[in-house]
Amino acid sequence: MKYDSITEIIGDTPLLKIDKEVTGLENIDVYVKLEYHSPFGSIKDRVAWELIREDIDTIKENNQTLLESSSGNTAKAIQGIAGANGLDFKTITNRIKVEEVKDILITMGAEIEELPGKSECPDPNDPDDPLTHLDRLMAREGDKYFRTGQYTNEKNTKVHREQTGQEILDDLGKVDYLFGGLGTTGSTKGVAQKLKEENPNLEVTGIVSSQDDFIPGIRTANEMWEVGLYEKELYSDRAVVDSKDALEGMLTLIRNCGILAGPTTGANYIALKRKLSEIDQELEEQKTAVFFACDRFEHYRSYIKKRKPEIFGGDEREGTETLTEEELEQVPEISVEEAEEWIEEENPVIVDSRSNPAYQMAHIPDSINIPEEKLKELVETGKPFSQNQKILLVCPGGRKSRKFAALLQRDNFEAYSLKEGVTGWRNQEKSLESN
């Protein structure tokens, strides 16, 4: 297929049926709209282009900077379009909580401005929300910017009604259940409007994240009213999903269906599974359900790692977890009090495992610096020291050095640990060097 412009590739995404083995639903066919099959990788591509499309020539003429409050996918899509059209883009947000997403935006060339965190001392005059900051910026230098306004612009809903919804309708006809995460609410709302034309009894479930939790692209119930497009009446019910369950759902889709979608999609799927499992057995006729795969999982790796460290084989890999109490007890410890004399006599290699800047600022005379991470690697993989020399390990307080000494002992090194660590050394006013 040949295209002349990147924006031509937006839309017309595949609709994939999920295997009944996976859903466990006998009477309901479940389809997922693979919105990540879009050039910038998410359901937001459609919105971003729709918000700009009609005005693109004027924006270019006036050389305006595109302005939006977006925490991720919309920003990514707008930046993609801006880049392809020689325009600049700026996003003002307080919601970029995933490091990779920020890195991706920076790599793409977006300008990000972050807002302050929520005040601890409540102040009614604090214009703390991003949209108010945008309003003020527009009031001050409005002619420099073109504000896309995904939270209030009806085009957000319109594009999903006329395109996304229409595509689903063309493929499936009647749909009985629709599941969508609530962010700007544009996609769920637009698609629901279209599908209701065919089936007025469509049941729409809006998915929000539980209070105090965070799922990228989905708001908590309390954040919904900040969104101008939100219409509570549209939803037959609202499902609250927490990030743990969302990731479970995501893993099911990734591992059992080859659908490499992100946490939001996982949340949609879990909400669907919960609701439909309850009614499946009572159904007398075949029904159809649809949910969205909003984006891909790759740029949420740190998010996944933080919340599900176990799938990466635990959060700490030191090699030290294999140590037994006995091994630890056998480590010879040198107390700070006797250390100077002992060093004088034995002439050990003194290894300080703190980070390098800290070592540079103050360390025990003649010690060398092998930061913990490096030391871990050396101890695990090979023989870092010569066998016939004593080694004195030093860490901040004597806990870690003891573990490393135990590991080295296991390999027959003559390793010792400085009992009270470099902190104890300093507290007893022994001399320290700095670089």
């Binding site: 003002i92 909580k97 920020k102 920076i106 300008e111 990000i112 401005e113 972050e114 807002l115 302050p116 965190g117 929520k118 005040s119 601890e120 001392c121 409540p122 102040d123 009614p124 005059n125 604090d126 214009p127 703390d128 929300d129 949209l131 108010t132 900051h133 939270y151 209030t152 539980s210 209070q211 105090d212 939790d213 908590t220 119930a221 309390n222 919904m224 009213w225 900040e226 969104v227 101008g228 939100y230 509570k232 609250v240 703190r354 980070s355 800047p357 800290a358 070592y359 600022m361 103050a362 913990e372 860490c395 901040p396 307080g397 806990r399 470099v422 902190t423 300093r426 700095s434």
Partner: protein, 473 residues
């Protein structure tokens, strides 16, 4: 029915369930009555100490005195060997009179000359808020022939890798003035640089991590100028969780938002909007209510902050403190006072307004519980004098005893099972932090509330007579 069920613990439950004692105390001392629970104060202290131990860091706790004027808590803190953070001359005097030594006292906040002089004279550690203040400290140190330990309070922390809209702080010295700070420290002989202090007006951990990144950068810069950072004071702001259920909190907030959006009625008095406003069917602005439900609070919050990786250092906050051999100071107010105090008010009357809304008039006013209109969004317990009370369908508003239209204890509706009547007790749990005497006034000659300390098997003493040794006997 909207509920905001308070989170309690066994110490609170034991007292709240002991209705006879509460009635006796309320009748004996009058309304409102503040009841301090020093045992819970100790539990909170221990929880923070456990975090220090668990993370293998050196740390000191300084109780932020401003959060409550109670004397029993100062006595309890002394028994537990914690320090105190004082923010005025009188707070400092109070701490000294309770036997705290200068070295156990941090003098913070805006300072007049009298406060500065007394703090320097007693060898307190001072937070330095401005260059002018540093100069005054030098002068007083000279006068008293002493040296004074100082922590430089910083503001304006900037992330390395992105732009951020700064919320300006009235406290401290901007980080970019580091050369000037060093220059002043070189110039003054009698101030001893001990380290840095900051307190962000947010519990947002990402913002705190950025502040810490800036500070560790300064630790290196100051080292190369010959100044060693021994202490890092991260202030307070570690949150408290007041409520049993996050869902209840979320539902109540949504009810307020729906009410502001015009889709629901009768949740707040005269459609009070708590700082929100409606624009094009969406709700804008930020709600001026403390977040009363917090999943991560107090010692858990500190634990999480210590485990947080500091950007640009690839190490956790804890590891950096240990690596650089820096002692951590914390100044919790709210977090140390969690469940450490209860306020009991007596019902004066119950009436209906023109629309039939029920107003429960208490013999206390908003200054006894809501400083600066920070409304306490936690349901009180009601102790009825008589079990035969009318059932209630709709909620009630608690109003105060001032002749002011705005004197509300709660501008949000509270949904009770039974209608309170004159003489019944309304028991607000968890008021010790700020919701007690922070903004208390003597307007229209109402007396300030009495304070007592309750301990052990619901034994009690006047607050100022409690020594902290009661449980030992």
């Amino acid at each position: 029915m909207l509920k905001l069920t308070p989170k309690t613990n066994e110490v609170v439950d034991k007292l709240v369930q002991d209705e006879e004692t509460l009635k006796e105390l309320a009748d004996g001392f009058g309304s409102p009555l503040n009841i301090m629970l020093p045992e819970n104060f100790s539990k909170n202290i221990q929880a923070f100490r456990d975090v220090f131990d668990e993370h293998g860091i050196e740390g000191k706790i300084f109780f932020a005195h401003k959060a409550n004027k109670s004397e029993s808590l100062i006595a309890q803190g002394r028994k537990e060997n914690i320090g105190i953070d004082v923010a005025s001359e009188n707070e400092l005097r109070n701490a000294l009179s309770k036997g705290l030594k200068g070295e156990e006292i941090l003098a913070t906040g805006p300072k007049n000359r009298e406060f500065l002089r007394l703090a320097v004279h007693h060898g307190c550690t001072l937070h330095i808020d401005s260059f002018e203040e540093l100069k005054k400290v030098e002068k007083y140190s000279e006068k008293f022939e002493t040296e004074t330990d100082v922590l430089i309070r910083l503001n304006n922390f900037v992330p390395r890798d992105r732009k951020a809209i700064q919320k300006h702080s009235r406290f401290g010295i901007p980080t970019e003035k580091k050369e000037e700070i060093v220059q002043k420290l070189d110039e003054y002989d009698l101030v001893n640089f001990q380290g840095f202090a900051f307190h962000l007006d947010t519990a947002n951990m990402r913002k705190k991590a950025i502040a810490l990144q800036n500070i560790f950068d300064l630790v290196k810069d100051f080292h190369s100028e010959g100044y060693q950072t021994q202490i890092l004071d991260i202030g307070g702001g570690m949150k408290v969780n007041y409520l049993e259920s996050g869902e209840e909190w979320s539902e109540y907030l949504e009810a307020i938002q729906e009410s502001v959006a015009g889709k629901r009625e009768g949740i707040t008095w005269n459609s009070h909007s708590f700082g929100l406003r409606s624009e094009n069917q969406s709700v804008k602005g930020s709600v001026d209510l403390y977040s009363y439900y917090n999943e991560t609070a107090k010692d858990d919050y500190l634990c999480k902050l210590l485990s947080r990786e500091i950007p640009g250092y690839e190490r956790t906050f804890r590891d950096l403190l240990r690596d650089y051999m820096i002692e951590l100071y914390i100044e919790p107010g709210r977090a140390l006072l969690d469940l450490a105090g209860i306020t009991v008010g007596k019902v004066n009357f119950v009436k209906e307004d023109a629309c039939g809304e029920k107003l429960v008039g208490l013999d206390m006013n908003k200054s006894n519980i809501n400083p600066q209109n920070w409304e306490l969004m936690v349901d009180p317990y009601i102790i009825h004098r008589d079990e035969e009370r009318e059932e209630l369908e709709d909620g009630v508003f608690f109003i105060g005893n001032l002749c002011l239209e705005s004197d509300f204890i709660h501008k949000h509706k509270t949904f009770l099972d039974k209608k309170p009547e004159e003489g019944d007790l309304v028991v607000f749990v968890n008021t010790a932090a700020y919701h007690m005497d922070f903004g208390e006034s003597r307007t229209i000659q109402h007396d300030p509330a009495d304070k007592i300390a309750v301990y052990g098997d619901n034994n009690w003493k006047k607050d100022e007579l409690y020594t902290g040794m009661e449980m030992e006997q």
